[in-house]
Symmetry: C2
Subunit: 206 residues, 2 copies
DNA sequence: TGTACATCAGTGAACGCGCGTTCACTGATGTAC
DNA sequence: TGTACATCAGTGAACGCGCGTTCACTGATGTAC
């Protein structure tokens, strides 16, 4: 699309942001760099975003959606006829390991999701139905499911999401930009992740 | 010390780095900014450090030492005549909660410790005896202690440090630069931390 | 004790860079009549 | 169906900034004799 009017510059910039974060890291996102990638003048971006920060937050939101989808995809592999208690645990495992393997395979996108606690100021209205639930919502649902299945005592449920998120996010950080980074091959790291998640679940269960 | 020869510019730059990280965040450390704070020309720093990176890594190392001391201080509050099993658990708790409260009270220093997996290329020789053990070493010792006290099964010991570090580091990240940041008062956050650490220990114990 | 001189630890000015953002503008689009 | 015109979505050039780093230098220090 090399016309004077680009067509959908907004989407193209977000797309370029994802591509750039994937290959050069989340810190590489800049106004000039992104518009250059799209083949457009720097200020053209200001038609669609208030400033760089807003653009980056929008890209971060897209990264977060992909994280949610990765978790949902992993959840979908659980056999439907699984015993309810086992299934509830498997869903929490899917959240944690989905989160971690996403971080391992797309560290740049994962770094972006860490900045997306704040919604961009000039978000464009999207059909809410198309958007996946946030990772946080998936986690809450998984924990509620464990209580409902009788795998977790109700009095342990309160605020348990922060415990789970800490373990999951912490492992992702160590493997992605911490001492575990580059030091071991992927299979080893996944094995360590499974061990961490197993300990977490053992601590939550009755 | 306003002489032409500064006296100990190297130490002064590291000190200024700590001060600056404390008040303006770890990202604020720059050559010009740091030398300005000390009252010296930018290039004077190149007498003592190869480049900015090396200076920052040195400051990061100092931050890591303070983290270790914070953990050791907390460990020291455990009564000496405590029952060995209980004491072993208390030491692991001291590691985790010491780590987290350090991050809460000095987020800038904590952010620096995350960059210090790499030693600065031009480290100056220090009497090794003066340096505290690294946080990682403290964690290993705490876990070994739990096995020795019979609180943790030996077959769970292998690689358990990554599980502990994930939970601890993850909570610190969430509270420091994640969704828990600023949203709740400190007491609440500490309570959540205690809950997370309790779940971790429950998962590790027999 | 005094002096020559090498070494050390700073100065001052400049380099080149890429950044985010703003200004005034112009080519393309689409709508009203 | 044709045309005037408002609006939209880009262009091109420039602003000012602070950065890390290098160059040639000079004032202070301390050591050998």
């Amino acid at each position: 699309v090399d016309r004077y009017h680009h067509g959908d510059l907004r989407a193209a910039l977000v797309e370029a942001g994802m591509e750039m974060a994937r290959h050069k890291g989340a810190a590489a996102l800049g106004m000039r760099e992104l518009t250059r990638a799209v083949g457009v003048t720097p200020n053209a971006a200001y038609r669609h975003f208030a400033n760089l920060r807003s653009l980056v937050l929008t890209v971060a939101q897209e990264a977060q959606h992909r994280l949610s989808r990765a978790i949902l995809d992993r959840s979908a592999t659980i056999a439907i006829d699984t015993d309810p208690a086992e299934r509830a645990v498997a869903l929490l495992r899917a959240f944690a390991l989905g989160y971690i393997t996403f971080a391992l395979s797309q560290p740049g996108w994962f770094a972006l999701t860490c900045e997306s606690h704040e919604a961009p100021p000039d978000a464009v209205a999207t059909a809410a139905a198309e958007l996946p639930p946030s990772p946080h919502q998936l986690l809450l649902a998984a924990l509620d499911g464990m209580v409902a299945a009788g795998v977790m005592a109700p009095e342990r449920r309160l605020d348990a999401e922060w415990t789970c998120w800490s373990m999951t996010h912490g492992f992702a950080m160590l493997a992605t930009s911490g001492p575990l980074q580059g030091g071991a091959d992927r299979d080893t790291v996944v094995r360590l992740a499974e061990q961490a998640v197993a300990t977490l679940i053992r601590g939550l269960r009755d």
